[in-house]
Amino acid sequence: MRKPDGKIVLLGDMNVGKTSLLQRYMERRFADTVSTVGGAFYLKQWRSYNISIWDTAGREQFHGLGSMYCRGAAAVILTYDVNHPQSLVELEDRFLGLTDTANTDCLFAIVGNKLDLSEEGASESLEKEGHSSGSVGDGCVSPKVPKQVKPEEAMALYKKILKYKMLDEKDVPAAEQMCFETSAKTGHNVDLLFESLFDMVVPMILRQRAQGPPQTVDISCYKPPSRTKSGCCA
C-alpha cells in the first residue's frame, strides 16, 4: 500500500452528508448511503501526490475514534447541514476538540451541505427528484424551506476556531476562502471544495518534506496519558 503524502479528514454530525460529499467527488454520483460505521477512506492522486481523505462516522457511538483519525491531518473539513442549525453547533461542541491531534498548521474548512433543500439553494439545481433518500433526519418528501444557517454563522465559527487554535487571522486563509455551501446531490461547489483544499495542502506537504521526516516524536508535546477524553460508554 502506498503511503499517502497528506491527510484530509471529514468531520461532522451524522446525516449531514459527509459520505455523500465524498462519494460525489470521488465517484461523480449521488446515491443512497448508509450511516457510516467507523470510517472509510479514499486515496486521491492530486498532481504527483497521494492524498488520503477520511470519511468519519458522525454517530455518537464512534465519536471516540475521531481523535485518532485526525492525528497528523493536514486539513479538516467540518461539515454541517444548512437546514439544521444544531449540526453547526455540534461542530463546535463535539467535533472541534477532536482536531487537537491534527498537524499544528492544519487547515479548517467549514462546509454547509444540502444547499439544494433550502430555498435559496433550490435555484442551484432545477432538477427535482421526487423524494430525497429518506433517512433519519429528513426522511420525508422535502419541501423547500428557508435556509436555516446563514453563511455568516459559519464564518463566525471559523473565526472562533482560529481563536481556539490561537492562530492569527493573518497567517491562515480568510474565512471567505474556507467556508463553503455545497450540495452533494447536485454537485454544487463540491469540486471547488475538495480541489481548493488539495491545492492548499500540497504546499504543506512540500514544506513538511523540506523539514525532513514529520516530527517523529515531539517530546515537547508530550502529554501524559490522561483521562481527559470523553469518559466512556456513551
Binding site: 499517502p4 460505521v37 467507523g38 470510517g39 492525528r71 496519558p225 490522561s226
Partner: protein, 859 residues
C-alpha cells in the same frame, strides 16, 4: 455481497484425542510452532501433538495430529497461555500467575527453574529490539497494579529490562519494537516503553466487552473498537486502513494476509484488509480461541482444535474472476504483491489484468477493458483471435493456456447479436489503430495491420486507404484475398503497389475503369491511373498502358509523357519513341510537341518545324471556306504566329513554301521577317493587310535587341512605304504622319525631311518637328557642355604644370636621394610633386605611383 471462498475449516485435533468425555476439562490455550501443536487445558495439562499436513489437489490440505506427550503441571490451575520460543527450544507456560520455561520436546521445566512471577498475561515481541538470536523479548501485564514489565528470556534464565506503569490498569497487550499497544480500562493507547511517551488511540468500554489487541504486522495493530469495529492503528497512533465491521461480540481476531479473521459465538468471519469488505462467513459454534501462528490460523472450541486452511490466492482470484468480480479480484491480486516473489507476482498479476480485461470486454466495457489490456501488456493477438478470420492464416499464434477467457470467438461472446458484434469490431479497430505504432505491436505488426485491414475493408471504413498508403505491415496474400472478397479492388491495387507489384495494381485499376470489375471508391480513377503512371518510373508499365490512356483521352493521357519529372524523363524516355507512339493521336502529338518546345525548350529543328506544320495544318483545316476571311484570329492561328515569331530554329523556307499558296499574309510577313526581308514583310502588312499597327509592331519586334541604327533603318523603310507614290492612299499619308509624330525618336530628321511632300503643313508634323528640334538642340547643348568641361579640365592641368615649373630649388651634395640615401653626383634628378628628390634610376626602379612617394618608408 456474494461471498468468496478464502478458507476452509478442517479438523486438527478431535475431541477424543484430548479431553475425551471428561466434561469438566476444556481447552484453555493453543500454540503452534512448525509441526508442533501444543494445547493447554483448564486442568493444568499440556498436550503436545505433531501435525501432519496432507496437500489436496484443490490446493487445500487436511491435517492429522498425533499425540506426542501429555504432561500435567501439577497445579489444579488452568494453563492460561502457551508460547513457543523455537530458537531456545523452550515453551513459555503461563499458569497460576507465573511463566515457566519448559523444554519444547519433553515438556520438562528447565533445570534452573527460571520463571517470571506475577504475570497476568504475556506477549512475545515479534519485532525484537535486541539482536541476540538466543533470547526472546517478553512483555507481561504484571499482577502489580498498572504495571507492564519487559523481560529478556534466555534458554534457562530470565532478565527484567524494564518496568513501566500505565495510567490505568492494562487488560491486554501486544508489542512491536519499543511500542506497546495496550488496552487499558477505558481506552487503547500506544506506549513507547523506551521513552515513556504515550499516545491515546481511542476510548472503549472494558465493562461491556473484552478488548482485543493484536499485532498484525510491522508496527501495526488490530484493535476491537466500538460498535464491533476492527480498528487498525500504527505505532504512530494513526490509522492507515479503514476499519472492518465485525459483530459486536467478537472474541478473537487473527490475520492471514490479506484477510482479517474474527470469531464470535456463532461465526468465523473473514474480511479483506484491502477493501474492508466481508468476504466469507463460516458457521462455527462455541468458538473460543482464534489465533494465527506464522500464517497458520487455528480456531478451537473448548474441546477440539481446527485449522483454517487458506485457499491459494490464485484460486481465490480465479474464483472471483469466474464470478465476474473484477474489482475484487484485482484488489486481491495486487494485494498479493508482498506475499509472492516479484517475478512470479508480475506474471500472475499481468494475467489477472488480462483476464479482467476480457471480462470487461465481454460486457462491452471497452474503456475499462482497454486500460486493463494495456496495463496487463496483453498480447494483442489474444484479442484479435477472438474475431473469426482476422488473424492471418500464416500467424503462428496460439492462445495462452490456460485460456484468458471462456469464449471461443466473438459469435459466442455476443451470442449472434449483430449490434454487439459491430460494437466489438469498432472497438478493435480503434484499439489496433492505437497500438499499432506503439511497442505493444512489436513482433506482431503483420498480424495487427492485417487484422486492421480486414476490419476496415469489411466495415467499408475510410481509413482503409490511409492504412494502405502509409507505412504498414499488411500481409499480401491474406489481405489480397480479403480485399477481393469484399470487392475493394481499388484498395487491393494500393496493396499491390505497396508490395512493389505496380503492374498488378494498374491492371486492376484499368479493369475498374473499363468497367470489367466494379468498385466505386474513386470516381476519378482514370485520372488517378494517369497520375500513377506519370509518377511511375517503370517505363515498361508506362508503355504498356500508354495506348489505353491515350484512347481514353488524348489530352489527359498524354500527361503520362508530359508531366513526368524532368530529370527522370530526360534519362529514360526517348522523345522520338514517344512521337512515333503519338502518331495516331494528333491532339496528343501537338501537346507533346508543345511540351518539348515550350516547356523543355528543346532547340531541335524537327520539333519546331513539326509543331509549326501541325499548327498550320490545323489553321488551314479550320478555314474550309476562305470567304470568311474573318478578322478574329483563331486560337490555332495565334499559336502558330506565336511559334513562328518566337522560335528561331524551324525551317523558315520550308514553311514559307507551305504558306505561299494559302492566304495567310500575316504568317507570310512573319516568315519574311525571319528571313530579314523587311521590305517584303512590311509591304504585305501595309499594302495587303493594311494593318498599320501590325506594321509598326513588326518594326519593334524585328529591331528588338538590335542597335538604334538598325531600328531607324526599319522605321525608315516603313515610312518610305507609306510615302511611296505607288500607293497614294490617303490613309497611308495619315499613317505616315502618325508614325512620325509618335515615334519621332526612331527617325533621323535629316533623312526624313527630304522625303516629305512639300504640301504638308508644319502644323501637321508639329509634334515630330518639335521633337526633332528639341532633340537636335539638346544634342547641341550637351555637346557644348561637354566641350566646356573638357576645356576647363585642360586649364586645371595647365595650371598645375605652371605651378610646378614656377619655383626653383638648390641641389647640393647635402641633398640625399630619398630612396637610396646617396648624394646626387650628377645634375639629373626626379622631383616629386611634394618636393622629394630621388635619382632617376631610383625613381625608375621603384614602381611607385609618383603622386604619392613615401620616402623613407622602407626603413
Amino acid at each position: 455481497m456474494m461471498s468468496t471462498k478464502a478458507f476452509i475449516l478442517v479438523s486438527a485435533v478431535e475431541r477424543e484425542l484430548l479431553t475425551g468425555d471428561r466434561e469438566r476439562i476444556s481447552i484453555e490455550c493453543v500454540e503452534c510452532c512448525g509441526k508442533n501443536l501444543y494445547v493447554g487445558t483448564t486442568d493444568g495439562s499440556i498436550y503436545h501433538f505433531l501435525l501432519e499436513e496432507k496437500a489436496l489437489p484443490a490446493g487445500t490440505a487436511t491435517f492429522t495430529a498425533t499425540k506426542q506427550l501429555h504432561r500435567h503441571l501439577g497445579f489444579k490451575k488452568p494453563v492460561n497461555e502457551l508460547r513457543a520460543a523455537s530458537a531456545l527450544h523452550r515453551l513459555l507456560v503461563l499458569c497460576d500467575s507465573s511463566i515457566t520455561l519448559v523444554n519444547m520436546l519433553n515438556l520438562e521445566p528447565v533445570p534452573s527453574g527460571a520463571r517470571i512471577k506475577g504475570a497476568v498475561a504475556l506477549a512475545l515481541n515479534e519485532n525484537p529490539v535486541s539482536r541476540d538470536p538466543f533470547c526472546v523479548e517478553v512483555c507481561i501485564i504484571s499482577v502489580k497494579r498498572r504495571t507492564i514489565q519487559v523481560f529478556l528470556v534466555y534458554e534457562d534464565r530470565v532478565q527484567i529490562i524494564r518496568e513501566v506503569s500505565t495510567p490505568e490498569q492494562p487488560l491486554a497487550v501486544a508489542v512491536d519494537g519499543h511500542f506497546l499497544c495496550l488496552a487499558l480500562t477505558t481506552q487503547y493507547i500506544i506506549l513507547n516503553y523506551n521513552t515513556g511517551i504515550a499516545q491515546d488511540l481511542f476510548p472503549y468500554c472494558s465493562e461491556e466487552k473484552r478488548p482485543i489487541v493484536k499485532r498484525i504486522g510491522k508496527q501495526e495493530f488490530l484493535l476491537a473498537g466500538p460498535g464491533g469495529l476492527g480498528m487498525f492503528a500504527t505505532v504512530a497512533g494513526i490509522s492507515q486502513r479503514a476499519p472492518v465491521h465485525w459483530s459486536e461480540n467478537v472474541t478473537g481476531a487473527a490475520v492471514c494476509f490479506p484477510y482479517v479473521i474474527a470469531l464470535d459465538d456463532e461465526f468465523i468471519t473473514v474480511h479483506s484488509m484491502l477493501d474492508q469488505q466481508l468476504k466469507q462467513t463460516l458457521p462455527f459454534k462455541e468458538g473460543h480461541i482464534l489465533q494465527d501462528f506464522e500464517g497458520r490460523v487455528i480456531v478451537a472450541t473448548s474441546k477440539a482444535v481446527y485449522i483454517l486452511v487458506p485457499l491459494p490466492l490464485e484460486k481465490q482470484i480465479q474464483d472471483l474472476l469466474a464470478s465476474h468480480r473484477v474489482e475484487e479480484a484485482l484488489v486481491l491480486a495486487k494485494g498479493a504483491r508482498r506475499n509472492i516473489p516479484k517475478e512470479k507476482f508480475q506474471v500472475m498479476y499481468r494475467r489477472v489484468l488480462q483476464q479482467a480485461g476480457f471480462i470487461q470486454f465481454a460486457q462491452l466495457q471497452f474503456l475499462e477493458a482497454k486500460e486493463l489490456f494495456r496495463s496487463g501488456q496483453l498480447d494483442v493477438r489474444e484479442l484479435i483471435s477472438l474475431y473469426p478470420f482476422l488473424l492471418p492464416t500464416s500467424s503462428s499464434f496460439t492462445r495462452s493456456h490456460p485460456p484468458l477467457h471462456e469464449y471461443a470467438d466473438l459469435n459466442q461472446l455476443t451470442q449472434g447479436d449483430q449490434e454487439k458484434m459491430a460494437k466489438c469490431k469498432r472497438f478493435l479497430m480503434s484499439y489496433l489503430n492505437e497500438v499499432r505504432s506503439t511497442e505493444v505491436a512489436n513482433g506482431y505488426k503483420e498480424d495487427i495491420d492485417t487484422a486492421l485491414l480486414k476490419l476496415y475493408a469489411e466495415a467499408d471504413h475510410d481509413s482503409l486507404l490511409d492504412l494502405l498508403v502509409t507505412e504498414n505491415s499488411c500481409l499480401l496474400t491474406d489481405s489480397a484475398a480479403w480485399l477481393e472478397k469484399h470487392k475493394k479492388y481499388f484498395a487491393l491495387g494500393l496493396l499491390y503497389h505497396y508490395n512493389n507489384q505496380d503492374a498488378a495494381a494498374v491492371q486492376l485499376w484499368v479493369n475498374i475503369v473499363n468497367g470489367d470489375i466494379h468498385d466505386s471508391t474513386r470516381s476519378d480513377l482514370y485520372e488517378y491511373v494517369i497520375d500513377f503512371l506519370t509518377y511511375s518510373s517503370d517505363q515498361e508499365l508506362v508503355w504498356k498502358y500508354a495506348d489505353w490512356a491515350l484512347q481514353k483521352s488524348e489530352e489527359v493521357g498524354v500527361q503520362v509523357f508530359t508531366k513526368r519529372h524532368l530529370e527522370e524523363e530526360q534519362n529514360s524516355f526517348n522523345p522520338d519513341d514517344i512521337l512515333t507512339c503519338l502518331k495516331k493521336y494528333p491532339d496528343a502529338l501537338v501537346k507533346y510537341l508543345e511540351h518539348l518546345v515550350m516547356d523543355r525548350k528543346l532547340q531541335r529543328e524537327e520539333y519546331h518545324t513539326h509543331l509549326a506544320v501541325l499548327y498550320l495544318d490545323k489553321v488551314l483545316q479550320q478555314r474550309p471556306s476562305a470567304d470568311s476571311m474573318g478578322t478574329e484570329v483563331t486560337e490555332a492561328q495565334a499559336k502558330l504566329r506565336h511559334l513562328l515569331q518566337k522560335s528561331d530554329v524551324y525551317r523558315v523556307r520550308f514553311l514559307m513554301e507551305k504558306v505561299q499558296g494559302a492566304s495567310l499574309p500575316m504568317e507570310r510577313a512573319i516568315l519574311h521577317g525571319k528571313l530579314e526581308e523587311h521590305e517584303k514583310a512590311l509591304r504585305i502588312l501595309v499594302h495587303e493587310l493594311r494593318d498599320i499597327p501590325a506594321a509598326e509592331d513588326y518594326c519593334l519586334w524585328r529591331s528588338e535587341g538590335r542597335d538604334p541604327a538598325y531600328r531607324q533603318q526599319l522605321f525608315h523603310t516603313l515610312l518610305t512605304l507609306y510615302l511611296s507614290p505607288s500607293s497614294s492612299a490617303p490613309e497611308l499619308a495619315v499613317a505616315a504622319v502618325d508614325l512620325l509624330n509618335h515615334h519621332a525618336a526612331e527617325f533621323d530628321a535629316a533623312q526624313v525631311l527630304p522625303l516629305l511632300p512639300g504640301s504638308w503643313s508644319v502644323q501637321l508634323l508639329c509634334p515630330f518637328l518639335t521633337g526633332a528640334m528639341r532633340d537636335s538642340v539638346h544634342t547641341r547643348r550637351t555637346a557644348q557642355v561637354a566641350l566646356g568641361l573638357a576645356k576647363s579640365e585642360n586649364l586645371i592641368y595647365k595650371y598645375d604644370k605652371m605651378r610646378l615649373k614656377g619655383s626653383s630649388f638648390r641641389l647640393s651634395d647635402k641633398n640625399l636621394c630619398q630612396t637610396c640615401q646617396n648624394p646626387f653626383c650628377e645634375p639629373v634628378f626626379v622631383r616629386y610633386p611634394n618636393g622629394g628628390l630621388v635619382h632617376t634610376h631610383c625613381a625608375a626602379s621603384r614602381h611607385m605611383d609618383p603622386s604619392s612617394p613615401r620616402p623613407g618608408a622602407r626603413t
